[in-house]
């Protein structure tokens, strides 16, 4: 039987220890799985975690892959801190990509320096608008935001499919579902430093993601808005006594997380693909949820967590190329890692005591006798 006693405070050293243990246990479990499947465990772990970044340009690619995760997760942190469970980041990302795509394709003639900012704004608006649906439904009708945001993801996937195959399809693409390419002014440039040149796929959006993460941390930890969000999540009754409005906070955090997801959608398409295709969602919205939890809902931690998750994904490719390990192993890894970290969180928040059923009763009785003082 497990007995949980809440801790009064959580020392940082404990958090780091549990995280380290969780990661170590995941590696051991992963190695065991590889061994059972017949692969060399150490070689496989190397392929997963070291090989993908063993060369300089690969580190750049790592940041590029982590970029959308960091952006989305920075927004999700707000939502989850307030106990509002936005699961629809994937759909919000798609809407953001669509809104910014609209600007690029139909208003692409505007003065070049204005196009990218306009697209960024459109991207944020798209994601925000899509997130407003669960927000309004929750505040007005008390509808569960988990299910609404999730259903809307499916709707969004179908919506972009129809749009790209239909009204927005490039007439020059022989019926293939592709929009025309975005104008050059609408593309996020690859980083091209004098003397170093380009670094694989590295683009300026990555820098934006890092800045966003820091900004999110600042807002959450150092502003009144952030304080409200945290209070409504940790102690909603206290928050209401203090005059904070649950409805307002709900709308706010869904707006922030939706807008961030929309921005990520815009960045991904604009930096890497350059046009809309029916399938631009690669699961980033869901992966970002894991990143947010891995980061312990801390916006700065999101950077590290995003890099770790991106590494595991790239590792899946590397392991496949080098050793023929099936891609699906990545999902198993991520799942185990998340399990371990979630359990680790318990060790952070509580003293965990393992007791035999009988002893619990006896201990309680002894404690009760002591409390009532000597007879």
């Amino acid at each position: 039987m497990i007995n949980l006693v809440p801790r009064k405070e959580i020392p940082l050293s404990l958090t780091l220890t549990t995280t380290a243990v969780a990661v170590a246990l995941t590696l051991i479990a992963g190695a065991a799985i590889f061994g059972v499947l017949g692969y060399d465990p150490l070689a496989a772990l190397y392929q997963f975690f070291i090989a993908p970044v063993s060369r300089g340009y690969q580190v750049a690619d790592l940041f590029v892959k982590a970029c959308p995760l960091i952006i989305i997760a920075s927004g999700l942190v707000f939502s989850y801190r307030a106990n509002v469970w936005n699961i629809g980041a994937e759909g919000q990302m798609i809407l953001g990509a669509m809104f910014s795509g609209y600007v690029a394709l139909y208003w692409g003639g505007m003065p070049a320096p204005l196009l990218l900012p306009a697209m960024i704004l459109a991207g944020v608006l798209g994601g925000l608008a899509w997130a407003m649906i669960p927000a309004i439904l929750k505040t007005r009708f008390n509808t569960n935001e988990i299910l609404v945001s999730l259903m809307l993801t499916y709707v969004a996937v179908l919506f972009i499919d129809w749009t790209v195959r239909g009204p927005w399809r490039d007439p020059m693409s022989f019926g293939f579902p592709l929009t025309p390419m975005y104008p050059d002014a609408g593309m996020i440039a690859r980083v091209d430093l004098p003397g170093i040149g380009r670094l694989a796929q590295l683009h300026w959006g990555v820098l934006g993601a890092l800045v966003l993460s820091v900004a999110a941390w600042f807002i959450l930890r150092r502003t009144m808005v952030g304080f409200q969000v945290q209070v409504m999540g940790d102690a909603p009754r206290a928050g209401r006594f203090a005059g904070f409005s649950p409805a307002l906070v709900t709308v706010l955090v869904l707006g922030i997380s939706g807008g961030a997801a929309g921005l990520a959608g815009m960045v991904e398409v604009s930096a890497n693909i350059g046009q809309l295709q029916p399938n631009i969602s690669f699961g980033y919205g869901f992966t970002a949820i894991i990143v947010a939890f891995l980061a312990r809902l801390n916006p700065l931690g999101v950077i590290v967590a995003g890099l770790v998750v991106a590494l595991a994904e790239m590792g899946g490719d590397a392991a496949q190329i080098a050793m023929g390990i099936p891609k699906v192993v990545t999902g198993v890894f991520k799942g185990i890692l998340l399990f371990m970290l979630l359990a680790g969180e318990t060790f952070n928040r509580f003293h965990v005591e393992f007791r035999l059923p009988g002893t619990a009763a006896r201990a309680a009785a002894t404690a009760a006798t002591k409390e009532s003082g000597s007879v």
């Binding site: 497990i2 988990i146 999730l150 919506f159 939890f293 099936p326």
Partner: protein
């Protein structure tokens, strides 16, 4: 022609009924398990693998149930033993189950088995129309109705069912009365896993007898929506599953008939319908309060 279509709808609904009724029991006890998709896939791959190796479909179904249960136990230990966040743990379970099923199922791809046999009742199966629609399904399909009836009876008319509901509505009071909150919840979670496993098993055993990665294609999530759609009442799960299955098939049939609505919009219908129903149920406060388990998703801590 409509007979065949209705038959298809009925069969398509079976996995949804199982998964949803299982999750209904879990949620009634106050736990939210978002990992239904992962559990269904584990059930599917286990069922197909065992059926292929042993040649016995019955063993396959059993294996599916067991696999679902084992997967659910992971969730149960974390959420009930370690009080981890239910939403995150459920999502992790989905990711884990999807990945693990793909891994285990890799050598199974490209193999085929015979589907579940349809039963044939002496006179009833030969009745026109009704005979085929009602009396000629396979045992697992009939089992889904039996499970719904059993769960309805259990929740409404047995003491154990009452205890489960009480725990879902107010776990502190239930604990004060001496009921084993965590134990009951764990049992519910295992039951939910078993049902999801059987629901998942139906896909490669009956609907399309071979294995493909991720073949549930989101049915687990639809099952979750179904539970809310049914406002946590067992009979409504049956109706809801039929509606959802119906819309899916209608979208395909509409195309074959030559409807000009873009297929994507037709495909959106089940999801939009769920949202609308969600709003309608939740908007009516008394109705919602009367039926949704008040403690859904909240962790229970003894001694507080």
């Amino acid at each position: 022609m409509y007979e065949e279509l209705i038959l298809t709808v009925l069969m398509t609904s079976v996995p949804l009924v199982y998964a949803a009724i299982g999750e209904l029991v879990v949620e009634r006890s106050g736990v939210l398990n978002l990992g239904v998709e992962g559990m269904m896939l584990m059930g599917a791959v286990a069922a197909f693998g065992v059926a292929m190796i042993s040649g016995s479909l019955f063993l396959g179904v059993l294996a599916g149930a067991l696999a679902g249960m084992l997967t659910a136990s992971l969730f149960g230990i974390l959420v009930l033993g370690f009080a981890t966040n239910q939403v995150a743990t459920g999502l992790a379970l989905t990711i884990f189950g999807t990945g693990l099923s793909g891994l285990v199922g890799a050598p199974l791809i490209g193999k085929a088995i015979e589907g579940l046999p349809q039963i044939s009742l002496p006179v009833l199966s030969d009745l026109p129309v009704v005979g085929k629609l009602v009396f000629s399904h396979d045992l697992v399909a009939y089992g889904s109705v039996v499970v719904v009836v059993t769960v309805a009876y259990f929740l409404k008319r047995t003491r154990a069912g009452l205890v489960l509901r009480a725990i879902g509505d107010n776990h502190d009071s239930a604990h004060a009365l001496g009921y084993p909150v965590l134990g009951v919840r764990f049992a519910a979670v295992l039951f939910g896993g078993m049902m999801a496993g059987i629901g998942g098993a139906y896909l490669p055993l009956m609907l399309t007898p071979h294995w493909a990665e991720g073949m549930t294609a989101g049915r687990g999530w639809i099952a979750l929506a179904l539970v809310v759609f049914a406002s946590w009442m067992p009979w409504r799960v049956l109706v809801g599953a039929l509606i959802f299955g119906g819309i899916t098939i209608m979208q395909l049939a509409g195309q074959a008939e030559g409807w000009t609505i873009p297929s994507q919009f037709l495909s959106m219908l089940p999801y939009l319908a769920t949202i609308i129903v969600l709003v309608l149920i939740s908007g009516n406060r008394e109705f919602a309060l009367a039926n949704s388990p008040a403690c859904l998703g909240r962790a229970f801590h003894a001694g507080k």
